[in-house]
Symmetry: C2
Subunit: 249 residues, 2 copies
């Protein structure tokens, strides 16, 4: 069932027009008809069954009952990632959305080979946001995760006080055979808590960055197992582990 | 440290020439010099430190000591995946290799939109195998996972008797809120056991395929959490969960 996100807060039986983009998708791309069913998620992250009742210009839907289907991770996870090369971020944010991420921060780190020109950064962020929106619809999320603007390392650092845990993926921890810190930590996490996960770019985190991070209260340097993962694979691994512990175990 | 795989079985202090492809990579791509260090994994999956002692035509290395660094998953995981569209398999096998997969089976399933022409199937498989080889070197594996030839569903089925557990990712299980079967199962798995994971193509597994699979002894239909994952994301999620349970927990 196709799912659309709207900003307003809704009630059962409401009828209202969808946005121009969603209307186009329904009438032109999917060629749906009056009487066909979709799902709508409102600004309060509530899910409704909805029926198409008008296809003129904008598509109008009438809501049915609220559906009680939880698809969000019970913890809020923000991924802070050093800028990666090529189009890696495009599929990283798609996959992270499928895996339940809440926010994504692109961070210009010391060893980032990729640079974002300030003029183009906003355009890149809105492209990533669109990918996250589409992935949220497809994976049946109740929340569209947010792609934050480009942050410098210091700007990212100043965000970290907002999280209960700051988890830094650190290759040296992995090399030294550190393998149990992540599991210990995830076993303590409680529903509703906020986790920040920090990943370096292809060149890794710089020694100065590690030093500053490790001085934060609630910061944990963790290994992610014995194999070396690419910069775009490690965040998926960590999100999958969080989902496993919080949703399957 | 750059890592190369060789077929022969080696002993400390052996000296021998590397293959033409590896020699080219060392001398032309990386422009390494005599005295530079690499790592070599032999046909017994043993890892050695090695020094470059000759760069003429083929590169000759002399082994030092055997290194005792384990980077393989303690269980052998085979992923059977329905043929997926576009180049999804290319990055899927790269990521699965980083996550520790042992074998990959491309399977023509009932609902596969993608079709592989018989003439081109071998070429596709050798391309996937090359990607797995490169990813094994980069992620510091001791084993290069194998990309098996294209299998029909029935051919795949006949392989499954070779595995201790057959784990089928089944969207209907997820929809019905089944969330604990995978965890229960992974908590029983013992080192050295062999796991087959089965994933449908974009259209999912066909009812007949599910029926046949579920009649196998040791077959488990499992949900992978509340969100709908794409066909190329679900295997990564499952591999990460297996690594978490077997290597981090």
């Amino acid at each position: 069932m196709q799912r659309y996100f709207v900003d307003q807060c809704l009630n059962p039986q409401d009828s209202f027009p969808l946005s121009r983009a969603d209307s186009h998708h329904i009438s032109r791309v999917l060629r749906m008809q009056i009487g066909d069913q979709v799902q709508v998620v409102d600004g309060n992250h509530q899910l409704y069954q909805a029926e198409i009742i008008d296809l003129a210009d904008l598509v109008t839907v009438q809501l049915g009952d609220r559906l009680d289907i939880e698809t969000e991770l019970p913890v809020q996870v923000a991924v802070f990632s050093g800028l990666a090369k090529g189009d890696k971020f495009e599929w990283l944010v798609q996959k992270l959305t499928e895996l339940g991420v809440y926010e994504f921060y692109p961070v210009a780190m010391r060893y980032s080979v990729a640079k974002w020109e300030p003029k183009k950064a906003d355009k890149k962020v809105s492209r990533l946001q669109k990918i996250m929106q589409a992935a949220a619809e497809q994976s049946k999320r109740l929340v569209v995760p947010v792609c934050q603007p480009l942050h410098t390392f210091d700007q990212a650092l100043s965000q970290l006080a907002n999280y209960d845990y700051v988890i830094v993926a650190y290759e040296e921890s992995a090399k030294q055979g550190e393998r149990s810190q992540l599991a210990q930590l995830l076993n303590q996490v409680k529903p509703g808590e906020r986790l920040a996960l920090i990943f370096g770019p292809e060149g890794g985190l710089a020694p100065h960055e590690i030093e500053v991070l490790s001085q934060l209260e609630n910061c944990y340097l963790v290994g992610l197992g014995p194999r070396i993962m690419r910069t775009e694979t490690a965040p998926l691994y960590a999100l999958a582990c969080i989902s496993y512990v919080c949703e399957l175990n």
